[in-house]
Amino acid sequence: MNFFENQERSKKKSVQLIAMFILAVTGIILAVYAVIIFIIYQYSGKGHASYPGIGNDIFKWIDPQLLLLVGFATLCIILGGSIVKIIALRRGGQYIAESLGGRPVNSSTKDPNEKKFVNVVEEMAIASGVPVPVAYVLEGETGINAFAAGYSPNDAVVAVTNGCLQRLSRDELQGVVAHEFSHILNGDMRLNIRLIGLLSGIMIITTIGSIVLRSSPRSRKGSPPLMLAGLALIIIGYIGVFISRMIQSAVSRQREYLADASSVQFTRNPSGIANALKKIGGFSRGSILKTSLASEASHMFFSSAIKTLFATHPPLVKRIRRIEPSFSGNFAEFQKIKAEFKPKKAATMGFSGPGEQIAINADNIAGQMGMVLPEHVQFSTTLLGSIPPEVRKEMSDPLGASAVVLALLLNEDKVEKKHQIKNLEQIAAGEIIRHTLLIDKVISGLDSNLKLPLLDLALPTLRQMSPAQFAQFKQAITSLVESDGKLSLFEFSLQQIIASRLEASYHPAAKKQIYKSIEPLIDDAANLIAKLAFVGHADKTVAQKAYDAAMKRIPVSAAGSKPAVISDISFDKVGRAISHFAASKPGVKQVIIDACAHCVLFDRTVSTAEAELLRAIAFSLDLPLAPFLTDTDSVSY
């Protein structure tokens, strides 16, 4: 199953979810109705005009007008509550993490456990080609648990509990984080958000019930119907909760198995995640959370966050046995084990054999999307290691991180650079310029392959800027880019990436999927591929061949479209093409990224320029693009 199929499947799940939800709401409406009829019957002195001799004749229970009233009111409450919640959650993963009491981890943290966590998250992000998510810690929580949340990979966060940090070794933590990345890659997060929204709508009924109950007068002569109504609402709310639990568990359990399996696949280290699960089993608090919001979000977590009849997660023993079939089911030995447990690297359940080579094969780019291979993780560890420590330190706070990005844009040419800085002084504060120049000294000699990873690493920290600071930062970027009057490929890619990744967290908006087929976009596709072919192949005839080969991958016959002349397409056109493809269905994205990959890999080499443009395309399309690994030492990010 590839990335695109998983995305589609997650969408189908959403439809199923809505269907179950409608069923639940119908049930609730009927229940509310029954209670109200009962109350009227009880307190109308058994002589209510409309309900004479109720109970003998079942048909007299039906009062269309009342049913309509009840149905309307209940529907309004539930739907209204859901919509309010979903709109709130659309603000992204940070919102969810913060309402659960999370605190973002600063990557300059001195706490070794937090540092370890941030490193693991960064490695996994670079390896899988998704934006580096913001790492959060749920500080007050001692249970071992974790979650990933966000509306799209661009505003994703990965959060772990304090217990997770304290009790898990690096390998185990990596297993847990890989599990969460699988949720990000499989499109589970959006499904989760919808689920939370619908559930909180249902749960509002209980809340209203308890408010009514508390506010109703206590005196004996008061109005018992009001009290009874409150009580009934609470009970119905609980029935609703009961049904929601069923929905939650139905949707969530299968996806947990999938995420566990992906975790093993990403790290090729089954003992990591297996031991993490065993520690949960052996730990008295297990994975239980304290926060009161845990129940409506419980399906989001790594392991059950609340004790409930309907488990959102498969039992631990079952999960462990799927990874480690020989597990005895005895957690006793894991009770006292702390983080020093050293797991052995055994490929007892490697999904891909240990000796397998990942060749760069254009046919696989789209197929492998959303999959992480241990080689990728290894590669990203090396990559992160080759970044100078001073720069890493700078990137740990927003001031330094914005300075890194600005430094990336500084021209090599001394005169040009002076000009750029002069322009920058009009906009940015003196301290930013000072830091930019400091960083420029360190990174000017750096391999150009490292430029984009630097940008990637800076992004999560940049999200900590206030909106006013972000606006200023964008201005600074524009000024640097425009000061020489030319737009280079790198500048274009950087702007694209900033726009697609940061803009999303400051101005979250759901991307509409306007284009269902590639046919109306054939000119855009031709422009994009022509640009890639032009950038990547110095020889005109090779470029033409690469273009032709790539266009063949597009099922719609391209014959009728543009004359295939490879020229330097303007960035305007490229930008427009990218934004069109960003607003298309996963299937269309798959076709275009596959064609792009064929164009780039036509000559079996990936130049830095090609990699940069392809990355900018993939990021803007919200597609995870793992680093290119070649058999030689030269790797392209």
Partner: protein
Amino acid sequence: MTAIIILGIIIAIVLAVIAIYNRLVTQRNRYKNAFSQIDVQLKRRYDLIPNLVEVVKGYMKHERETLEAVIQARNSAVNASRQASGNPGDPGAMKNLNAAEGMLSGALGRLFALSESYPDLKANQNMMQLQEELSSTENRISFARQAFNDAVMAYNISREKFPNTIIAGMFNFTEAQLLESTETPEERKAPKVSF
């Protein structure tokens, strides 16, 4: 029909209350998180100061008072920041932090001004490094403070708006205090003086 309308109004009110409440909670968490950014940098500065004093001590034998003032100011700033990080935005705690930070900046400023007359100290490699670290931390603090103040401002504005102000009153969303820049213009210059 009237029943439907009344019910509809009640429901709308309840939903609005919930939405406003949630928004206020998130904004409060946001500025609290923004404070933790400042906190990291403040801690870094507090860690640097003892090293600075250690280096300076060797050269400035006759300036014990100034050094002690720096240490004292640093210690009270550490306390104030601990209090503030427990409850960021709390007017009392923030005012204490403002005052303590002002004292510390002043004491550091005097120390740097004095060090002008010790050429050996000026040439000391460690001293130069610490100086650089301190001023860089200073910059980070001011950047983080800006973000914090933006977040506090957004929260305060949103809690004062109608009808949010009613809900804020009901659920005890108190006004948050901005963290002012503690440095007067000349103090601001002081730690940045290059030798």
